[in-house]
Amino acid sequence: MLDMKYDGADLRSKRRPKSWIDRVWSFFASVKVGLWLIGLIIVGSAVGTIFPQEMYIPQQLPASQYYTQEYGTAGTIYYSLGFHNLYTSWWYISLIVMLTLSLIVASIDRLVPLYKALKYQPVRRTDRFMRGQRLIGEGNGSEAQIDMMEQSLKAKRYRVKRDGDALLAEKHRFGRWGPYVNHVGLVIFFIGAMLRVFPSFHVDTLEWVREGDTVALEATGDEYYIRNDQFILEMYDPENNEEDAKFAEAIEKAGAVPKNYETELTLFKKTGTNEDGSPRLEEVETGSTKVNHPFKFDKYEVYQEQYSSRPEFLSMSFSVGDKETGDIYGPFTVDMNDPETTYDLGEVAVSLRDLYPDFEVRNGEPDTKSPRALNPAFFFTVDTPEGASESNLIGIRMNVADENNRYAIQFAGTEMASTSGLRVKSDSTYPILIVGGTIFMIGIVMGMYWPHRRVWIRRHGETDVLVAGFTNKNPSSLRREVSPLLEKAGLPIWEDQAMFEKQTDANSTNERGES
């Protein structure tokens, strides 16, 4: 059978290469090389999923320790080979670059000769050419029958060309361009993906914003500021919400399930600087960002990405009770971030001696686990009118004080704030990626769903006729379409020159609708 891939055209790369440029060119033009590259990328990609990539491991522990600690020797090897950042490794990127090169070179190498061969194809083909087709038939036939065939092929939307008693019918030639169109789309997509590496095309920062705080957005070059007005965490509530009642069983088994994460925010634009150096801000708009519904402004997007699982205390209020008289003094409020050290309540004065934002007892002494006000404890002294000083260590569900103290300090309220992790980003490569992806998809659909079909009919000798058919996919469908037409016209029916076996037994095809 004839190799019809490029319509029997001579591939540039298949000619004897001369210079080293030609040699390299032919190397990348080879399908075999392309297949090897795809194969290597498959293997490489798979390796990267054995253990999580560095970006997915907890940040507290350096990667050099994490892999060993978590996965033992295998983890150590994984890390030392650089597989923890496999997809940005030089060799993985090199494979992709080589595949891109192969894609471009092979496409140019094939498209040009194929285009020429199809554009200038003769209607009358040689015996050898026709007999080299997958579908070929030979037998009696007249020119009138070929004319009749022309009409019925036209009815099937074939473009028919005649050259005397020779006929060429063709349809869906544009399907042949599909692979090249999708390669172009892919290259455009790769260009977009490549540009994302550069900060001028793609910026992306995570901002932790506590409720009530206003922060400059680094991704906008501090041009914009965002205030976290409120963070909302809503859980499914089968008991109180009728809609959620059907989930009761699953929630009982698996525990509470979040329904919504949302940050209500206000956007500000910096218009200048105040005298004290602080930014002068102008409110732009208020809005909210929640999972699957980013907040958009200018060319930026704000995504609800994370939140701190424990809210922090902003301030805590206390009052002082006189155990003897029952009088209450206060309340007074301690600001966690900037605490006053003395609180004058008239009759009594309270001094804040120490503040442990995240209380724990270490080596028998009160201490703090972190600088974050997650579990605050306070060391107060109360200066009594008598001039005595009574100490109190007060924390959550903790009050260490001398029984003989006259004054007792009690909680009078707290103010807490959640912190929301907002991802701010702008990406000017989206249009390129979308265009590339769309062209890629169009190419694929063109190439896959529109099979190129051609039928040649030619007189052969005095009374005989040769019938040949070509398609780049699904020969049996071409047979099914055209064989009945041949039958109707009384022309010889073609046979399938099978690729894998001669069909010795006609019954072996269980193909109904055609026999």
Binding site: V31, M55, M441, I444, N510, R512
Partner: protein, 394 residues
């Protein structure tokens, strides 16, 4: 709750109809009946019609479950796998519509049946949707990806037909060995489903508690008789069985399930191979596969890939990227599920390109169809259950 019950009933009806269709396809292909004058064409037609009715019933399941849970039912392993089975049937119906080939039904329908039965092994509880999954793009992405995979799975069926037809069963060859391995894996899946149902029915499992390697208390709920437990595990309920203690970094629960699947698969295999059929499974299927010419089997494979791959790329990669961009603010994050979707695509792209390389068609291509399906199943089962990533819920 009404909706959910009806949806389950419809799913069962669909399953039974598919099973009957499979039997009828077998009769249509082999003509195995006492009266030898079987009208094969008629059997094939009836089988096809039953498969269509089954598909309609399963569509009913899908719609009613949607109404019942309030979101597109493709959000956990049970729902997704069931839907994938349904899309396999749809893929089969489309390809059958083109080629009207009963042998294909004989191979494709049992695989779909196996997938749907496998789905029922996961919890079918109505679970609430986490915020990230609450998106229109999720529905579009998952349904399209499943449709693509369903159609691609048909190339597995016809690839098998090609290999069964082409491989000589008389002499030793790699192809013969691997075909038998493929059959064994399919039988193990069946074994897993059967023993799961059996053990769940009689309550042969148990619950153990142990200290995991992070120092936390954890419990494993076994549905199958306990063979392996983590080091220092305490039995809370159920029978202790063998209870071999293994180091903590091994997930003994999964190992237990795996071992039971292999054991049951072995039992079934030995029964089939040495008692019932008395020859290789592949050898027994060969006469059926021989009813399709190699060229046709190859063409069906190619066609399923040609139809299925664009759908898969659209659903499994492009729509997936759009959704990931909206939900996770990055369209591509090298999450294992994403990587394996990429690998799936690359395998079929490899398949398409190797056909333009001389001498790489035929057997090699057919094996790649089998490999492609293995990757799809790997991504569905293994990546979810073993490699935890963002997709670990489904």
């Amino acid at each position: 709750m009404e909706w959910i019950q009806w949806s389950s009933r419809l799913l069962l009806i669909a399953f039974i109809l598919y099973a009957i269709a499979t039997v009828l396809f077998t009769i249509a292909v082999s003509g195995m009946r006492k009266d030898r004058n079987v009208n094969r064409v008629a059997y094939g037609k009836i089988a096809f019609i039953l498969a269509v009715i089954g598909f309609i019933a399963q569509t009913g399941y899908f719609i009613m479950r949607w109404a019942g849970v309030g979101y597109a039912p493709v959000s956990n392993l049970y729902e997704y796998t069931t839907f994938f089975g349904m899309m396999m049937v749809l893929g089969f119906l489309v390809v059958y519509g083109i080629y009207k080939n009963d042998v294909l039904g004989l191979f494709a329908m049992p695989v779909a049946l196996l997938v749907i039965a496998f789905a029922s092994m996961f919890s079918s509880d109505v679970a609430p949707l986490i915020p990230a999954l609450n998106s229109v793009w999720l529905k579009i992405h998952v349904t399209t990806a499943a449709l693509g995979q369903g159609i691609l799975a048909i190339s597995f069926a016809s690839g098998l037909i090609f290999l069964l037809n082409e491989t000589s069963m008389r002499e030793r060859s790699k192809s013969r060995t691997w075909l038998e391995v493929t059959m064994f894996v399919l039988i193990c899946t069946l074994g897993f489903i059967l023993v799961s149902m059996l053990f769940k029915g009689i309550g042969a499992g148990g619950v153990v508690e142990f200290t995991n390697d992070r120092g936390g208390q954890e419990t494993y709920e076994y549905f199958m008789p306990i063979l392996f437990v983590p080091e220092g595990a305490q039995l809370l309920s159920g029978a202790s069985g063998l209870s071999l203690e293994l180091p903590n970094f091994i997930n003994t629960l999964k190992l237990n399930t795996l071992l039971w699947s292999v054991i049951s698969g072995l039992v079934l295999y030995v029964l089939l191979r040495f008692v019932i059929l008395r020859k290789r499974i592949a050898e027994s299927l060969q006469p059926l596969a021989k009813k399709v010419s190699l060229d046709l089997a190859d063409e069906i494979s190619y066609r399923s890939v040609a139809i299925g791959l664009p759908v898969f790329i659209l659903g499994g990669l492009i729509f997936a990227m759009i959704w990931a961009q909206i939900a996770w603010n990055r369209f591509w994050g090298w999450d294992p599920k994403e990587v394996w979707a990429l690998i799936t695509m690359l395998i079929y792209i490899y398949y398409l390109h190797m056909r333009i390389q001389r001498g790489w068609t035929g057997t090699k291509a057919a094996w790649l169809c089998v490999g492609g399906f293995a990757v799809i199943m790997f991504n569905l089962v293994f990546v979810n259950l073993v490699i935890a990533g963002l997709h670990s819920y489904a």
